[in-house]
């Protein structure tokens, strides 16, 4: 061991380099690989065409989530193309001996929800998936990031990918969060400061009081959206909160293996004096409940603020105007009071139990606004069960909401859960790109509290009025 102070990121990265290529990438070992139905079929086809096999089938886990219906999951999937993708995942998993949690399996759910809740995700691991929100798993002090399908094929066939080491960024947020400010607001605030490309080329470590005091669910929400500022991933050093979350989960280490793992996890923190390529500091007190007004996740503001003027924003005026035109908004307008047609709560960003608790805390004793269609989609069957067991379902039902079945749903609208053209959706998901939630759909990204306030009033509303 060298005595040079080292970062959490360096410790985990360096422990996974199989070979360094001169003037090239590192050959990087992957501990855990998640696959889903959309980005894996062509990778399996590649294996077949080359006549090569899966190297370590026990290190890959399959779940169906992106392209699954969120009602009537017991019935055959109607869309033949979607059904075909689901069948391909099932057949490929069976053929190569890969664990598969398909539609209807009690463990099924969104890949970035089921990995952690079943104890597959552990500190110090490298984790990849053909999905950019794989950064979620960084909440456990893992290096986790999204990859393309060619890389899925690499991991299947060699458990490695070829990856240049990113630069290092640390983002410190210190102080106490204000009332009504959730982890989602923290990350939307950071992205609004750094912009959608501000962390491209970097791997982020989140540090400071705010993250130390955050639940694992909250940390996952933060790390999840690291990609939305261009970062490959984000991570938070594991601590007692992390260990407590993991302990006892199905695939978590037990007995002696637990003790050994725990001893290792305790080394996973950035040493004092370790250096980063860039560092940012923010005050928790400056953050208010956030909402986006434009067509990338960097276009967010405090909910009481007005849409910035084109003269105030960086980047091209024409791009900014194109974005506001798409949204049907004008510069300088306020967001509060804008009509909302749809509310979506769910996704790998905000589809965990804590998110539904937050949503329920506001709608309890109130009624859904008549002009709002709400899609309430748990991140997994385990979350769905918790919603029932904790009485949240009763609160939802009394307020006029219905619970759907787990899946990615309206976050990317691959299935039938599409927001119609021109309609406004307050969404707890992660992307407000043009057409992301359906062709012509207009997305306002926000926290579960902001979504709940909109769901009961039918307009963009400051959730602090209800707390």
């Amino acid at each position: 061991m060298s005595n040079t102070p080292s970062t959490l990121f360096d410790k985990v990265w360096d422990a996974h380099v199989v070979r360094k290529i001169e003037d090239g990438p590192d050959v990087f070992f992957i501990d855990r690989h998640f696959i889903h139905e959309v980005t894996s079929p062509v990778a399996f086809l590649g294996l077949q065409n080359r006549g090569i096999n899966v190297m370590f089938s026990e290190r890959t886990f399959a779940t169906a989530d992106h392209n699954t219906p969120t009602i009537n999951q017991h019935l055959p999937v109607e869309d033949p193309l979607s059904a075909n993708q689901l069948k391909a995942l099932e057949q490929n998993s069976a053929k190569y001996g890969i664990s598969h949690w398909g539609l209807g399996n009690p463990k099924n759910g969104i890949v970035h929800v089921v990995g952690p809740e079943n104890g597959i995700t552990l500190p110090g691991m490298t984790i990849v998936c053909g999905d950019s929100h794989t950064s979620t798993h960084g909440a456990f002090g893992a290096i986790a990031f999204g990859i393309g399908t060619s890389e899925v094929e690499m991991v299947l066939s060699s458990q490695c990918i070829m990856q240049p080491k990113p630069k290092k960024m640390r983002i410190n947020v210190n102080g106490a969060l204000n009332k009504g400010v959730t982890p989602k607001d923290v990350i939307l605030y950071i992205i609004s400061k750094l912009t959608t490309a501000g962390a491209t080329g970097y791997f982020v470590e989140y540090a400071g009081d705010v993250f130390e005091n955050m639940s694992m669910e909250g940390r996952m929400t933060v790390c999840n959206m690291s990609i939305e500022m261009g970062a490959r991933g984000g991570m938070i050093a594991p601590d007692e909160t992390t260990y407590a979350y993991i302990k006892g989960r199905e695939k978590a280490p037990q007995g002696e293996a637990w003790d050994k793992a725990l001893a290792y996890w305790k080394t996973l923190k950035t040493d004092e004096g370790a250096s980063f390529d860039v560092e940012y500091n923010y005050n928790a007190a400056d953050i208010e409940p956030m909402i986006t007004y434009g067509t990338n996740p960097g276009m967010g503001i405090g909910i009481t603020k007005n849409i910035p003027l084109s003269t105030e924003v960086e980047g091209g005026k024409s791009t900014y105007e194109k974005s506001l035109n798409y949204m049907g908004f004008h510069e300088g307008e306020q967001m509060l009071g804008k009509k909302v047609d749809y509310v979506f709560i769910g996704s790998c960003t905000n589809g965990r139990i804590e998110d539904f608790r937050a949503f329920a805390s506001i709608i309890k004793g109130r009624k859904k606004a008549d002009n709002v269609t709400a899609w309430i989609v748990p991140g997994s069957h385990i979350v769905e069960r918790q919603i029932r067991e904790e009485g949240i379902l009763d609160v939802l039902t009394e307020a006029g909401f219905q619970l759907r079945q787990p899946g990615c749903s309206a976050c990317l609208a691959m299935n039938d859960d599409k927001i119609p053209a021109g309609k406004y959706a307050v969404s707890t998901s992660n992307r407000n790109f043009e057409g992301r939630q359906g062709p012509g759909a207009r997305t306002l990204l926000a926290s579960p509290l902001v979504a709940a306030a909109a769901a009961v009033t039918g307009v963009v509303t400051d959730p602090r009025e209800f707390i």
Partner: protein
């Protein structure tokens, strides 16, 4: 995947001076249902390219017959968002072999290199020069020279160098991919894996 070797590409270019072009625009999620790699070019930039009734949007650059070529020139932060390699497949399938921008999102850049598309990152000033040149004359040719790592506006001779790591350059020039390389070191990986805590 097997792809054609890339050495020198001289071609007209299609200009798209829009910033933050995300992969949901390049290929919307509803077109990701195929289980094969081919055919995504038909839906490249689907919602910018076609109206809801599938008629072409006349003001979109891919529908303007004045512009053509194997090089796509995009604004800053091209390819942000989703990791879908389908975005790179769609660009390749449509007929582009090179994308030029002043800044690329990481995953898109990796995906492109892995399937034989060369992402060329130029300075913001040079990007402006390219857009201006194409605006003045849509038949403006660009020459992308991978061995020399240069991009040139042929008519004026204005030239800039670009970066690419030596390993990826070698792969592109020879049509190799990473899987060939990784397959050759499986014994080393096996040993490494045996030493992992989990």
């Amino acid at each position: 995947m097997a792809y054609d070797k890339f050495t020198v590409l001289k071609s007209t270019a299609v200009p798209m001076p829009i910033e933050n072009v995300d992969t949901d625009q390049i290929i919307p999620a509803r077109f990701l249902k195929a289980t094969k790699r081919e055919g995504f070019g038909d839906n490249l930039f689907r919602d910018w390219r076609y109206n809801v009734d599938n008629t072409p949007k006349q003001d979109f650059v891919l529908n303007n017959p004045i512009y053509s070529g194997e090089i796509l020139v995009g604004g800053k932060n091209f390819g942000s968002g989703s990791s879908r390699e389908h975005a790179a497949w769609a660009i390749y399938d449509y007929g582009f072999r090179c994308v030029v921008s002043s800044f690329f999102a990481d995953i898109f850049k990796n995906n492109s290199l892995n399937i034989g598309i060369l992402p060329v990152q130029v300075s913001p000033e040079f990007l402006d020069k390219i857009f201006t040149a194409i605006e003045a004359d849509p038949k403006t040719e660009l020459e992308v020279n991978l061995p020399e790592q240069t991009i040139t506006i042929v008519a004026t001779g204005e030239k800039e160098s670009f970066d690419i790591n030596g390993y990826k350059k070698h792969n592109l020039m020879n049509g190799f991919d990473d899987i060939d390389y990784l397959q050759s070191m499986k014994a080393e990986i096996e040993t490494f894996a045996a030493g992992r805590l989990y």
